[in-house]
């Protein structure tokens, strides 16, 4: 299994009150899967995604990605791990506004040992793949929302990560752009074999995934996140 989650619990405490964001979740995700995480607002979808992606830590339980327990890594190791293994797609795109599409996509590669030439090849290939080969010198504000999100997808896949995680990637997009972005993710999954975990509360978006996991109040709804 690529992702193996066992008895994962995440508690938040607001002074006296404790919120159980995730309640002893166990879940497996295989390499090459496209999984949709669904559930009402506050059900713990983002929290689960953040722990898998190594930007949050569980209160207890394990989260193994490729046999590494993410919770065991130090801050610095975790940063390196994210750079190698995770591609992020955010609801709000999160491109750096003062950098061009090209420069945004190049960012994660600056942490690798690739030469300038190799970086150029990778960046251009990624932008071609998302259909923005002709927008490389544009700044984010010169792009439409859908185009911005495609740049973000190019940035997420340019390092050839183990996982692509997307938190409501179509939440800020119109229906047409949403279709484009979801189609792109589906293509990446089907044709390039990328493992994708996507949080959404839109059933139409979830329909693009192969498998849908339902969360409610921090628990898996059907209780069998694990593969049979």
């Amino acid at each position: 299994m690529l992702v193996q989650i066992r008895e994962l619990t995440k508690l938040y405490s607001h002074g006296e009150i404790q919120v159980t964001a995730l309640d002893r979740i166990s879940l497996d995700i295989a390499g090459g899967e496209f999984v949709a995480l669904m559930g009402p607002s506050g059900s713990g979808k983002s929290t689960l995604l953040h722990i898998i992606a190594g930007i949050d830590r569980p209160t207890s339980g394990d989260c193994h990605v490729r046999d590494i327990n993410v919770a065991d890594l130090t801050e610095t190791q975790l940063a390196e791990w994210r750079n190698h293994h995770v591609g992020f797609v955010f609801q709000t795109f999160n491109l750096i506004p003062v950098l061009t599409a090209y420069e945004n996509v190049e960012l994660p590669l600056l942490l690798t040992s690739l030469t300038g030439r190799e970086r150029r090849q990778h960046v251009e290939a990624a932008l071609e793949l998302v259909g923005l080969g002709d927008r490389m010198r544009h700044l984010p504000r010169q792009l439409s929302g859908g185009q911005e999100q495609r740049v973000a997808i190019a940035r997420a896949l340019v390092t050839d990560p183990t996982l692509i995680v997307a938190d409501e990637p179509t939440g800020n997009l119109d229906a047409h752009s949403a279709q484009e972005v979801l189609g792109l993710l589906q293509t990446l999954n089907r044709q390039a074999g990328k493992t994708i975990i996507m949080v959404t509360h839109d059933p139409k978006a979830a329909a693009f995934a192969q498998r849908t996991i339902h969360l409610e109040k921090g628990q898996l709804l059907n209780g069998n996140g694990q593969h049979p």
Partner: protein, 387 residues
């Protein structure tokens, strides 16, 4: 590789309104620093060149400068005719009872008036100061309100060419010569006859007596004789000692430069810090994004620290350019200890520019440390969630 510098440069440019005040603040500090320092430099260079170790200068006991000293006419005469003073070919003692006064003259460029130092001299004054050369016209003669003017003053003030005359109070002074003072303090003076000066400016005393002992051996006895004379209440120094003491006031300006610079730079460093805190606040989500992409805390820290340094170096460069423009426009004149128009050479040396930039750099580092630390320490998730 770290976060590219263009990220910081462009962020500064995008937020230029917010950063401009900080850049100008730092520029101001650097300008003032360079300005006062170069003033001190010029002063030192001038005073170091002034003074002849063979001459003795007599002031009233307790005075530190000619401008605050008074020697009565009787005392001056008494001093002049002491034994042990060298004599010129005509047999007159090489002693010059002198007085300095300030007058207002119109600047050549029409930018108003300034105080100019007028020195009343005896006719042996030039013999006592061989570095002074009349380069145009002739030496002044007593009786006709004649004056000679230093080259610098002639160039900088109206009605100071040979043949011109200028008015001061009820007296009209006729310019008969121009002198070159070999970059000594006399370079910014006008010389007239001491007794004419006394009557024109209504003083019944002199300020100092400059004299030349017959030789080194005579100097010591002459000094002792002067000090032992119970009718005289005076102070005797070699002329070199006197100007060394004046140089101490350059030391004061050097101190003032450092003092002003430190006070102002604390303010500027706070401004830089403020700007950087605002920058970190405004870009928190970008910091979260960079961290998610795999950049370490250290990368974020260095990036924001560098941004603060870039910001302050920009200020340093602007400040350097401002002071350089002063360097080109004028030789800079300033009120010295006597608040006269003293033409110190205002020179911005490369070394001084370097110090100014270093200064800016330090302000950048100090201003950037805490905001950069704040940026680096933000938890990734909190940063990503910020709006």
């Amino acid at each position: 590789m770290a976060i590219p510098l263009k990220y910081n440069l462009r962020s500064i440019r995008v937020r230029w309104r917010a950063t401009l005040a900080t850049i100008l603040g730092i520029a101001l500090v650097v300008t003032v620093f360079i300005f006062v320092r170069s003033f001190a430099h010029g002063m030192e260079a001038t005073y170091v060149k002034t003074g002849d170790s063979r001459n003795l200068i007599v002031l009233r006991k307790g005075s530190t400068a000619e401008s605050s000293s008074q020697i009565s006419r009787e005392d001056a005469r008494r001093i002049k005719y002491m034994t042990g003073i060298a004599r010129d070919e005509a047999g007159n003692p090489l002693a010059s009872a002198e007085i300095i006064v300030l007058i207002l003259l119109k600047r050549m460029d029409g930018s108003g008036t300034a105080n100019v130092l007028v020195r009343g001299i005896s006719n042996t004054a030039i013999a006592l100061r061989p570095e002074i050369k009349i380069t145009e016209g002739r030496m002044l003669r007593a009786g006709l309100n004649e004056c000679i003017v230093s080259r610098r003053i002639a160039d900088r003030f109206q009605q100071c060419r040979v043949g011109d005359s200028f008015q001061s109070g009820k007296t009209t002074w006729n310019v008969v010569g121009i002198f070159d003072a070999a970059q000594t303090a006399y370079e910014s003076e006008i010389w007239v006859d001491a007794d004419e000066a006394r009557s024109a400016f209504k003083r019944n005393f002199y300020g100092s007596v400059l004299l030349r002992p017959e030789n080194d051996a005579a100097a010591a006895t002459l000094k002792k004789r002067l000090l032992d004379d119970r009718l005289l209440s005076i102070k005797v120094q070699t002329e070199t000692e006197y100007w060394d003491e004046q140089t101490q006031s350059a030391g004061f300006y050097r101190f003032l430069a450092s003092f002003l610079a430190i006070i102002m730079s604390i303010g500027a460093a706070f401004a830089a810090m403020n700007t950087m805190y605002a920058a970190v606040g405004a870009r928190t989500r970008e910091i979260g994004t960079l961290r998610a992409l795999g950049f370490h805390r250290r990368h974020i820290y260095i990036s924001f620290l560098l941004e603060s340094i870039v910001l302050s170096l920009l200020g340093g460069i602007v400040g350097g350019l401002i002071s350089l423009s002063f360097n080109l426009i004028s030789t800079g004149t300033f009120g010295g200890t006597s608040f006269a128009e003293v033409a110190f050479q205002f020179r911005v040396t490369p070394q001084l520019l370097g110090t100014g930039l270093l200064f800016a750099l330090i302000m950048g580092v100090i201003g950037g440390l805490l905001p950069a630390r704040l940026a680096a320490r933000k938890p990734v998730l909190d940063a990503l969630r910020s709006v």
